[in-house]
């Protein structure tokens, strides 16, 4: 249903813009503990960059290969989030109480800092994958589906 755009201006701007948007998404994700933003917004911005690539170059374009591969990682973000919680359990603490992450030579506050960072990465992966997945679901082609069947 979504085809590649035929305008040179749009294609060139897309090539310029997509890496910048991805860089900004990573910036928002990893500086969420110091500036506004965090896992949710960073994930959405990263998803937006991949949506731009789908809308400009089409779902089968070479720039969209990241989006095509990322869709298979559904549930990975949730696994990271719950995995951090279980790590806390293994360390002898409570579920999602990051002070229980067992890393020697790290004080409690730094452990909680690390836990916040890891769970933020989990949320970002979950949100980005879900955004891409919904875009692929919405642009799933009826005619294409009939010709394949």
């Amino acid at each position: 249903m979504i085809q590649a755009h035929d305008s040179v201006i749009v294609l060139t701007l897309g090539r310029l813009l997509i890496p910048l948007v991805q860089l900004y998404g990573l910036y928002v994700l990893f500086l969420g503990q110091y500036t506004p933003g965090g896992g949710f917004v960073g994930g959405v911005i990263f998803a937006t960059s991949m949506i731009i690539s789908i809308l400009i170059f089409g779902p089968s374009g070479s720039y969209s290969s990241l989006a095509r591969n990322v869709v298979n990682g559904d549930g990975l973000g949730l696994l990271i989030f719950v995995g951090v919680g279980v790590l806390c359990l293994i360390g002898g603490g409570q579920f999602l109480n990051y002070a229980g992450i067992e890393i020697p030579g790290l004080e409690v506050a730094s452990r909680r800092y690390l836990g916040i960072l890891l769970t933020q990465i989990g949320v970002a992966v979950d949100v980005a994958v879900t955004g891409i997945s919904i875009v692929f679901s919405l642009s799933y082609d009826n005619n294409d589906r009939e010709s394949r069947a």
């Binding site: 911005i45 949730l78 999602l96 909680r112 800092y113 836990g115 933020q120 679901s137």
Partner: protein
């Protein structure tokens, strides 16, 4: 002299909200809804809730608009045009009364930024005082979301995951 942006922002917010409902075609309505989200983001930023403004601008004005447009592209033109019957008289009488009741109740809310309001004396002083010491995280919003209230965030993540799974199950169906 400082000029207050409160009133113009609220007027623009109401105008765009009304416009997205009153417009006859769904594609312009989606774009007006995007501008509504943008003005709402400006309002959040003006109130000092920068994180909420960020999310509103990115999700409301960016992602939701793309989702709506992709949905509309999958429909026929006759589906996106709306024909509205005139509203029943009960709605014309009842809704203004409800609005009046809400305005009357809003008088009893604590003033904006009131230090003795229940919201600012219950748990938020604890978070503000201990966040940097406990978690080495200067952004208190992040430390509340991800550490003190991480269970809520976990369930929200599950909700988002479920939404993606439900969309895939409903729309990516192979016809036998």
């Amino acid at each position: 002299m400082t000029f207050s942006f409160e009133i113009p922002l609220l007027i623009l917010l109401i105008l765009t909200a009304a416009g997205s409902i009153l417009v006859k075609d769904l594609v312009p309505a989606v774009f007006i809804l995007g501008t509504y989200s943008f003005f709402l983001a400006l309002l959040w930023a003006w109130l000092g809730a920068v994180d909420v403004a960020f999310v509103e601008a990115v999700v409301g004005a960016g992602l939701a608009t793309v989702f709506f447009l992709l949905t509309l592209f999958g429909t026929a033109p006759k589906d996106t045009r709306i024909r509205r019957p005139p509203p029943p008289w009960a709605a014309l009488v009842g809704l203004p009364m409800l609005g009046f009741l809400l305005l009357y109740a809003a008088n009893d809310l604590p003033k904006f930024g009131d230090p003795t309001s229940p919201a600012s004396v219950h748990v938020s002083p604890f978070y503000l005082e201990n966040s940097l010491k406990d978690t080495h995280t200067p952004n208190v919003v992040t430390s509340v979301l991800m550490d003190y209230r991480s269970f809520d965030t976990l369930i929200e993540t599950v909700v988002i995951f479920t939404a993606g799974i439900a969309c895939a199950l409903l729309l990516r169906r192979k016809q036998e």
